[in-house]
Symmetry: C2
């Protein structure tokens, strides 16, 4: 995995809906009807995260889940982050 | 529910292990072997949170889960937060 350049990041970001880049993280907040449904979503993340060997940081506040992706080993965003974002968007 | 005074907070905090008060939140970070076990813990929280009608904010970073409790309606810490902290500690 190699770090993406700013222009690569902008291109890949354009292929995603509702994600944004904040510093070295790719972030999106998903909103659900309630806490139970928010946690259901968290559970659906587990299999793809484990398969990719790549684990988003998650922040849950009642019915909202913020997913933050970055490639810690590289110190920034790589294709791995965008690949997992695409999968998570489709959950 | 009424807001706890500082001395009530200190007394109740003394009855808990490894929790700390940060601003208006009661917080503890739980550490697990990996992401899957961290999410298992998140799942174990759901039933007690739903039963109490009280939902902690959660922050998951790979094998760590930070649980933050506060009573938003009262704008600070109440007995409800300490009651749920005690239950979560025993999960």
């Amino acid at each position: 995995m190699t770090l993406l350049s700013d222009s690569e990041i902008q291109t890949k970001l354009g292929e995603l809906v509702s994600w944004e880049v904040r510093g070295k993280e790719l972030q999106r907040t998903f909103e659900f009807a309630n806490f139970v449904q928010a946690i259901d979503f968290v559970n659906r993340l587990v299999e793809p995260a484990e398969s990719a060997g790549h684990h988003p940081d998650l922040s849950v506040s009642y019915n909202k889940v913020t997913v933050s992706l970055t490639t810690h080993d590289e110190g920034g965003l790589t294709a791995k982050d965008f690949d997992l974002a695409r999968i998570i968007s489709a959950l």
